[in-house]
Structure formats: structure tokens, C-alpha cells
Assembly symmetry: D2
Homo-oligomer: 284 residues x 4
Amino acid sequence: MNHAILTGHCADREGLVAKMTLWVSRYRGNIVHLDQHVEEEAGRFFIRVEWDLSGFEIEDEKIADRFSAEIAEEVGLDFSVGFTKETPRIALFVSKESHCLWDILSRWTSGEWNVDISCIIGNHPEFEKVAKQFSIPFHCLPITKETKGEQEAKELALLEQYEVDLVVLARYMQVLSDSFIAAFAKPILNIHHSFLPAFAGARPYRKAYDRGVKLIGATAHYVTPDLDEGPIVEQDIARVSHRDTVQDMIRRGKDLEKVVLSRAIFLHLNRQVIVHDNRTVVFT
Amino acid sequence: MNHAILTGHCADREGLVAKMTLWVSRYRGNIVHLDQHVEEEAGRFFIRVEWDLSGFEIEDEKIADRFSAEIAEEVGLDFSVGFTKETPRIALFVSKESHCLWDILSRWTSGEWNVDISCIIGNHPEFEKVAKQFSIPFHCLPITKETKGEQEAKELALLEQYEVDLVVLARYMQVLSDSFIAAFAKPILNIHHSFLPAFAGARPYRKAYDRGVKLIGATAHYVTPDLDEGPIVEQDIARVSHRDTVQDMIRRGKDLEKVVLSRAIFLHLNRQVIVHDNRTVVFT
Amino acid sequence: MNHAILTGHCADREGLVAKMTLWVSRYRGNIVHLDQHVEEEAGRFFIRVEWDLSGFEIEDEKIADRFSAEIAEEVGLDFSVGFTKETPRIALFVSKESHCLWDILSRWTSGEWNVDISCIIGNHPEFEKVAKQFSIPFHCLPITKETKGEQEAKELALLEQYEVDLVVLARYMQVLSDSFIAAFAKPILNIHHSFLPAFAGARPYRKAYDRGVKLIGATAHYVTPDLDEGPIVEQDIARVSHRDTVQDMIRRGKDLEKVVLSRAIFLHLNRQVIVHDNRTVVFT
Amino acid sequence: MNHAILTGHCADREGLVAKMTLWVSRYRGNIVHLDQHVEEEAGRFFIRVEWDLSGFEIEDEKIADRFSAEIAEEVGLDFSVGFTKETPRIALFVSKESHCLWDILSRWTSGEWNVDISCIIGNHPEFEKVAKQFSIPFHCLPITKETKGEQEAKELALLEQYEVDLVVLARYMQVLSDSFIAAFAKPILNIHHSFLPAFAGARPYRKAYDRGVKLIGATAHYVTPDLDEGPIVEQDIARVSHRDTVQDMIRRGKDLEKVVLSRAIFLHLNRQVIVHDNRTVVFT
């Protein structure tokens, strides 16, 4: 069974849904999911269409071109098409905290996600053994101020070699350089251990404790050159009280972080997230 | 400004969205919201379309007939149409607890909702003064086992007299008879003070305390002849601990009850709720 | 029935709980609630003791002095004592949004809280009628840049005249001056319409929308000279999605704001909140 | 560093906290945590005291006897004492779902919990490889109606052999017999995939879908002979909508189940849970 998933956005105008759904129907595609949204303020139209390809009259590799020529160009739709038979390839970046890493590995190994973990890259050697346990290549690339450029070049080479579609920063405690982000040019998901925009930057639980908040949070977002400022995919919070020390917050926050990051990865893998203007439309 | 809102459901088949949106466009309706859902298991299609009527080429009172003849009959769509310029008329049924009553009255008086509170019916005299404060007619209809039939007949007469579109049971502690529900034949919203189906029936907080749950809840649902078994519109919960007595649960539950009921009323008024097969599709 | 409630904090040391509970027992007080907390990082001890005064051997008005002389001075406890028979007096400050006002008035009028609403002060005339409906004195004190000092002086005079124990800013859209805060010298509770420290200052829902967060929140805190920086008493959040416009956030946020503010007021009235070092211990 | 943790409950009376804290102080124990609770309705007193044993004048193995003789017998306290230097021993019971298993193993292997996973017992062979990956003994004991008694006897023998303190049913799809529960006579924690008491028994997500609830939940509870009726330790919920199929609920529920079960295990291991009369006091 193979489905096509088309996601895109354009300036809103009359009849967009009808136009696109008719196009799918005309070639005998059977639509199984349709989500659309009009952001009224910006007058922007967003769509996600998923259809069954059995009996579809256009070959997979020609769908994007045909749709572009027959629909997208005319209405100015910025779109992409993916296929459920494809298995996306992920690289995990880690440092010294393992809870997100374990959460991702356990979902992958148990078949919860249709994904390849192509490699794990750490700036510390800690998780080489874990990687080995799952027979996943591990690369240790320690980074200092001096070696950053050089090591990021090695990372980029690895991402190319492994044909990685998505980088997941699973509590990776290094800031990626602007040039790395530009050179990779594919999505990078990060988990930040606060409900952004509160407590951006370092040591958010310390800051949360000092401010005396009654909620702690976690935020999964795409990485952009502005630290902790990228489009938010998912957030969640937990209640805390005066009884929680900074250490309690760190411990309890781990459960938020891993679940929030994994939810964001799952949404991304299913092409449920559309980014526009530093905000996300998440079709659930 | 006047919008039409059409909601409906039918057996799923190809091209339903295109067919309906094209119909609106053909008569120069400008769609401002479109939500659709396919319940895969039952193969059921649900839709809500809202369009701007300025420039629409069919008069309001003929829209339902024309849509029925040109679209709905063919595809078997069970639908209804409403208009945002209409102000729905509500009757509130109350007993001795006032938190839901106050919450509804304050939203109405502050203009948060476009609704008429046509009357308040109590089986106790308690809230006559409150009703007077807001210049709303109050009718006290005490009910005993013996007088139930007679009093419900009076209630029905009042509902007809006030041309009521929706009855809201705002912590009304009487069970409506099957014949009342059948005779009224319009929607009735109730708030039950537990996360149904847990703790249906009387004294849910007492039961929650005795069971030692760590969450209490509230459930807004449409009333059907099966007590506390009608289609659920909205639910929410709050955490409790061993520190909460039954009285604490009752006090804290009030905040849940009033907000959950008011959310359900708002969703209903906006025609965001579609009922089918004792379940609801809630387009938010 | 009358209970004493003693709350306080001091540097932690051995035997504080025993010392204080024995003191109560020695004079035949029956402890009905005891909460204590040691903030490990700062080595600070917090306590709340509530005891039944029937049979207590010290008169109410002498309890503070005797406890001070016999216990508090020795251990350096910063404490206060209140009595459940006392009815605290509140002043409500309002502008043009009524949801918090209604929520507070409905709790008061229905007897949910043991409190006197001594007066309502508005910088707009909007809610004079509401105040009248509840027979509460209303004072309209419009504020401009030029008149601020003068009007705040009138407010202070009113607070003194009404013997107000607590000011509640129920969506009051004026910043209180440092001198007002210093002169009043009693607690002031505010509701801010975001999960602080995110989106402090003006137009938080606008900022939340622009940032694309997936949660909106509300924060009740004590007012200090630093705007939106005072000790947080209570916070809560609601999930939002791309479907929520700024107006939807504002509407949905109202439900958060009123419930969070009212929870904070209730906690304050019950003397469940202890402030130290810009953070709160909230015994629930 | 070694702490003693004493937990217990008895009929409430004057001076219990003072009596117990003085006892600890008398032998030069430094109390680091003290929690107490009086359940007013039943007049029951609950306490948890944790103190530093460096300098404590009673040897670890004599503490229980001395406390019993000098305090507990007199006041009728049902208590137990544990030590933070001890590492509790857990057995995991599993079937075919691995999410709770992985969650527990990852917390253990990363050092988040001070615990020994002594063995994994499965009624299916699925997770032998996972157990091997972590060098944990795995025992496959398939159960049929006919072999239940025999297999449970083997399980009991294993639990004795491994000196197990706590059995965790990590989505183990067999009902333990009354005789097994009686013979083991130590705590057994289970995770049920609903917010109990709603949807007890088999296929809770199916039932939740059919009922049309807007929340799904998970409940961690101690096992008693009454199926799904044991004392609840922890619960949590997630919002669902009409868009969630039964399969979506199952997938999303996994995240609830694993986190709720692990929270309950952590609370149990820290001796933060006291059971009385089929309810729990959870000191957090």
C-alpha cells in the first residue's frame, strides 16, 4: 500500500480545495485524508492531501511535475509531495543526556515509527555503547571553539554520506552554526527544555526555579539561525510546586522533553507539519 | 454581515468536498471556513462549511431547499443550515447550585455570546432574585414524583411559548423523562460532574473520593433517554490529591463544570458540533 | 467555630516543627492542619499551622504576642496569624474587561468565599451598573499621564476608608506606581494574560500568536514595583493550534484568566500562600 | 550517605508529629523531609519522615524495633522503615507490548533510578532479545487456562529466588490469580490503559472510542484480587478528538501509559506512597 501526501501553501483564493481535490480524483486517486486551513490574518491557504495510489494514473516520480504544471504554478502553491512507502532517514545528535535518545531508539526498534536511524553523532563518547547495542553507526565529534568549523564539516559529510533527511537534536548541547544550517538545507528538529519563549538559552530549569513558576515545559521546534527562535512544532507542560527542587524539575522535565520531541518527530515524519513565516500549521 | 453555516454527514464517497464547495462558489458564496472529516471505521463523511452571504445569489430562506435539491438528496447528506445573523434562544434549567448559571449569565450580559436567555426554569425558588437582577423571566416548577408529568408539561409549554432552540441543564438535579425529551425534540445540553463514563449517576465526587482517583472531571453532553449516556461534547479534568476532601473536590469541580459546560454551549451555538451514532464530531 | 492560622518562615534548624506544634498543644489548641516545607537550597523553613481555638487558653488578640515572645523571636520566625472568623476586605480594580469581575462577584454572592467586596474602582465608568446590581460602591477614577499621582492618592484614600486588606487587579489596565505600592503596603494580586515570564507587558496574545506557540497561559502574581515580575501564585495553560486566531486566543484566554485569578485569591484568603525572596510556597 | 525513611499511619490524635520528630532528634537524626497528612473523614494520620543517618545513635537494623517499642506501639502506628542505601529489586512481567518495558529499562540503564531489574518474565518469548541486550535474565512462561496454576508457581519460585521486592506488570496481559497475589505478599504495580474506573477490563481504547470520550487516560495502581480495583497511585490523561481512530488512541495512549507507570514506580521506590483502605496518600 502506498499513499501520496501533498502539503503546501499559497495566497488564499476561491476554489482552491475544489481545484486540488478534483485534480486527484481526475487521475483516479482516492483521497483518504484532507486537511486545509486558511490563516485569515495573512490570507494564507494551507493544505494537506493524502491519497491512495493504487489505480492512480500518474507514476510516483512524475506526480510532482504534473501537479506543478497543472495546478501549483497557476495558484502559486509552494508544495512538496512524499510517499508513505518511503522510509525517511534520520541522524541523531547527542551529548550526555540519554532520555530522548532512548525514547527515539525504543520507538524505532519496536516498529512504532517507519524510519531509519542512519547514524548517531555525539560530541561526547558516552553513547557509543548504546549505539552499538542497536547496531547503529556512532561518530564521536568533540567540539571546541577552535575545532567547530572543522567538526561541523565532518558532520555535514556524514549527513551527506548517510543521505539524511532529518537531523534530530536529542538534547545536543552545541549551537549549530549558521553556515551548518545553510549547508545542510534540510529540516533540523530540536528540543528545548522550557516552554519557549520563556527561558530561552542555557539552564532553563535553574531560571524557572529562580522565577518561581508553577509550570515547567518543553518545546520542540525547527532550528533556524536564531537560537531557540525557530518555528514551534509542539509544546507541553507539567505542574510544579515549591516542593520541586531544580533537580526535581530536571528529572520531571525529562519526561516532557522526550515525549514532546518524539511527538514532533512523528508529526514531521507523517508530513503533518507545514512551516510558513516562522509559524507552523500542524494537521492532527 | 451574515454567514451561512451548513453542517451535515453522509456515507463517504469520492468528490464530496469538491461537489459542495463548488456549489457554494457557483452561487458566488465566499467560503470563510471549511472543515471536513471522514470517520474511516464507519465510512462516514462529516462537513461544516461557512460562507459569506454578501453577494450570494440564493436568498437565505431558500438555501436549504436549493442545496437539498441540487446536492444533498443525491449524496444522502443529512444536513442543516443556520445563519450567523440569527440569535439562538436558550432556556436555563437550574436547581440549587449557581456556578454554571452565573457563568452563563456573565458571558451573555458581557456580550461574549450571541444568544438570548429567554427564561430560567428552576425546580427550587432560589434563583428568582438572580433572574430578576438580569431581567430574565423566572419560573419555579417544583417537581415531586407525583407532579413530574404535570410540571414537565408546563415546562414544555414554556419552551414553546419562548420559542426555545436549546435547553441547558445548568446543574439541574432532575432527570428529564423520555416523553419530555421526545416532545421537546430539540437539543438539550447537560453538565455531569465527572469524567464520564466514570461515576455516572448521583454523587460523583463522593464516589471519586472513595475510589481514590487522582483526577476529577466534568462532562458536557447532549441529553438522551439513557441517563448520562448521551453524546459527549466536551470534557476536562483537574488533578486532585489525598489532601482534597469531598468538599474540596466539589469546590474545585465547580470551576471545571462551569467552563466545560460553557465551552460546549459555545461550540453548539457556533454549529461546530455534529452528532452521529451517539458520538460527536467537534470542529474547532 | 474559629481557627487560628499561623504562617511563617525562618532559617531552617533542628526541631522547629516539634517546637511549634508543642506550643500549640501546651495551650490546648487542637491542630487541624499542619504543612511545613524546607527549601533545601536556601536552607529556609516554611510552616502553616491551623488550630481549633475552642478551649485554647490564650485569647485571640494575645496569640501573636505570646507566640512571638515564647517561640518566634528565639528562632527568628517571620510570621503572621489570622483567624477564620475574620472576613477579609477586598477592593477590585477594573478597566473594560469584565470576565474576572463577574467570576469574583459570582463566587462572593453565592457564598463560595468568606470575603467582603468593599468597593470596585474603575478607570473607566463601564462597570458602575454591575456594581450597583450587587450594591457595591463603585468609584470611577480615570487616569491620564498627568492625573496619575492625584488619582492614585484618591485610590489610597478609598482603600484606607474601606479598610481594605487586599487589592485585586481584575484586568485593570493601569500600571500602579511604585509609590502607590509602597503606600498601600498590603498585598495586591494581579492577573497577567500569559504564562509568565513569557510575554510580559502589553498585548501578550498578539505576541503569542506571532511567536506561534502551542500553549497560551495566565499567571496570577503579587504586584511589586517590577512590572510582571512579582511572586507567582498560580498559573495555568490551554492548548491552542493554528486554527486559533488572536481573537480566539483572547476569548479562550479569558477562561484561564478568571479561573487562575480566582484560585489565587482563594489561596490568599485561606492564608495558604507564603512569600519569600520573590517566590511563593503554596500549601494546598 | 544514607537516609532512613519511615512511613506509617494510625488513628489521629494530638501531638503525633511532635512525638515522632522529637524521637528522631533525641537520637541525633537530622530530618531532611517531613510530610504528614490527616484524613479528616476517617480521622487517620499519615506520616513520612526522612532523616540523615550520619551521627544517628541507633544502628540501622535496630531502628524499626526501637521505634516500635518507644513510639509506634503506644500510638498504634502501622509503619515501615527503609534506607536510601538499599537498592530495591524489581521483576518485570511483560507480554507483547514493549513501550513500558523500554521506558523502564532506559531509566534503569541511564541511572535515573536506584533499582535492580532482577529479571523479566514474559508469557510470550518476544522480549528475550531485549532482555539479553541489557544482560537481564529472561524467563518465558506461557500461560493457558490449564497451565495457569503451574506457571504461577514457577513465577513465585523465580520471585523468591531473585529476592524480588516489587513486581511491575509492564502491560502484562494476564490476570494474576488471588492465590498468586496472596503468596507473593509484596507490592505489585500495574498499568491500566484507561482513566479508571472508566473502561476497566479488556479493550479500553475500543470502549473509549465507542463512547466518544474527549479524553483518554492511563492509571497505575497496586494489584489486589479485584481486577482494576486496587489503590490508584497515579493517573494522567490526553485530549483526543473525532480525528483519532482507535489506532491513534492506542498509539497516543502508549505515551501516557509508560510515563504514568514509571512515575508510579519512582514514587513507590522513594517510599512516597502509603496505602490505606484501598486509597493512597502520595507525598510529593
